[in-house]
């Protein structure tokens, strides 16, 4: 006997509705992803045939996203700027060898992550936080409003203090763990995409994420005990 038949009709209806909505959202996401891929493929092909303006379009398109990735791994604006310039320069030189086995999105993110990890290994612990300004639109963010309403440490700390604490906690993570946290929590990438970029299994991504969350919890626990240090 099929177990789903035994469920009450209301339950089955909500399940069907939610699964239908999920499927629709998923198909919409897939369609957007495919459109992005097609557009990128065309721009890559034009760049490979010598059209430098096509590469400029790729630079404009991916700069904000890659900036977020590199910045949240380095916590320094100047380093991020230099690294990002190097990433695009390297990509431009190597784009002739790009055969499209992965998407351009994955390829450029791989270059950015690898170059940033190499940079962080060289830099070691010699760094200072040079944080960007928090955009004022955060005050209207639903999640921010929820956090300030429910969490006393967040409510009591001002924004810059919260930002500093978060970045300090992030910088206490290892470079590899920070990369995973940045891509998953901040950039909102799925596990599968992260595993492709880092060239590790999805299981490794999940375990790194679990370990990093635990560490962040421990670091921020101090913030809970003493909100305004």
């Amino acid at each position: 006997m099929n177990p789903s038949v035994a469920l009450p009709p209301a339950r089955r209806l909500t399940d069907l509705l939610s699964s239908g909505l999920d499927a629709r959202a998923k198909s919409k996401r897939e369609a957007m992803k495919q459109a992005r891929k097609d557009e990128d493929q065309e721009l890559v092909a034009r760049t490979q045939s010598g059209d430098a303006a096509a590469f400029d379009q790729l630079v404009v398109k991916y700069t904000p996203r890659l900036y977020g990735l590199v910045y949240n791994m380095t916590s320094n604006h100047e380093d991020t700027n230099d690294l990002l310039q190097d990433v695009f320069s390297k990509a431009y030189k190597a784009i002739r060898g790009f055969r499209g086995k992965s998407s351009f999105y994955t390829w450029i993110h791989s270059i950015a992550v690898n170059m940033t990890l190499n940079f962080l290994k060289k830099r070691g612990r010699r760094f200072h936080l040079s944080l960007d300004d928090v955009d004022s639109s955060i005050q209207n963010d639903k999640e921010f409003l929820e956090l300030t309403a429910t969490s006393s440490p967040v409510r009591e700390a001002d924004l810059s203090e919260l930002q500093r604490r978060l970045n300090e906690a992030m910088m206490k993570l290892s470079d590899e763990h920070r990369a995973v946290v940045t891509m998953f929590h901040i950039q909102g990438m799925p596990h599968a995409e992260i595993s492709k970029i880092l060239r590790v299994s999805e299981g490794t991504v999940r375990s790194r994420l679990f370990y990093a969350n635990r560490q962040l919890q421990n670091y921020l626990d101090e913030f809970r005990k003493n909100p305004v240090a």
Partner: protein
């Protein structure tokens, strides 16, 4: 609840998306990228620029795919030539040894003189060594050296002189 749970940490981290560089940074980024590319190009030596241009040109023509078959044929021909040269240049020791014997012999007929009776095809020849190697060595040592003064044979001299 004051303690951060995993969900709250995730929400806090998502707020980091609001950290943005100074206004206009992304607008200037492309100009900065072009400027750096130009600077990098000027720092490069001339030979590298030429090499890169040539590489780009070859890439655009897709030369590797065009040259693959002729290159393969040329490689095969070169290999064949090298192998055949090696085969033909091997020393023929056995043949040299066989040919060296009749060099020191002269031919005579069985009766000691020529006869018109027997046809050329059926004539029987026997070989006899002119002198053996020890005789030859002795003769060379005993006789005074002879010098050839005139290299033109007598038979080549003109018969009639005016």
């Amino acid at each position: 609840m004051d303690e951060f749970d995993e969900n709250e940490i995730a929400k806090l981290l998502r707020l980091k998306r609001y950290e943005q560089p100074r206004p206009g940074y992304f607008d200037n980024f492309l100009h900065e990228f072009h400027r750096r590319q130009r600077d990098e190009l000027l720092r490069q030596p001339l030979w590298r620029i030429c090499l890169e241009r040539t590489h780009d040109f070859m890439f655009r023509l897709n030369v590797p795919s065009l040259t693959s078959y002729p290159a393969a044929i040329a490689a095969v021909l070169i290999c064949a030539a090298v192998i055949s040269l090696r085969i033909y240049q091997e020393p023929e020791i056995a043949r040299v040894a066989v040919r060296s014997r009749p060099a020191l012999s002269a031919t005579t007929n069985a009766e000691g003189e020529w006869t018109l009776a027997s046809p050329v095809a059926t004539r029987v020849f026997t070989t006899r060594s002119l002198r053996n190697s020890s005789e030859s060595a002795r003769a060379h040592r005993a006789a005074p050296p002879r010098y050839v003064l005139d290299s033109v044979p007598v038979s080549y001299e003109p018969t009639f002189k005016f």
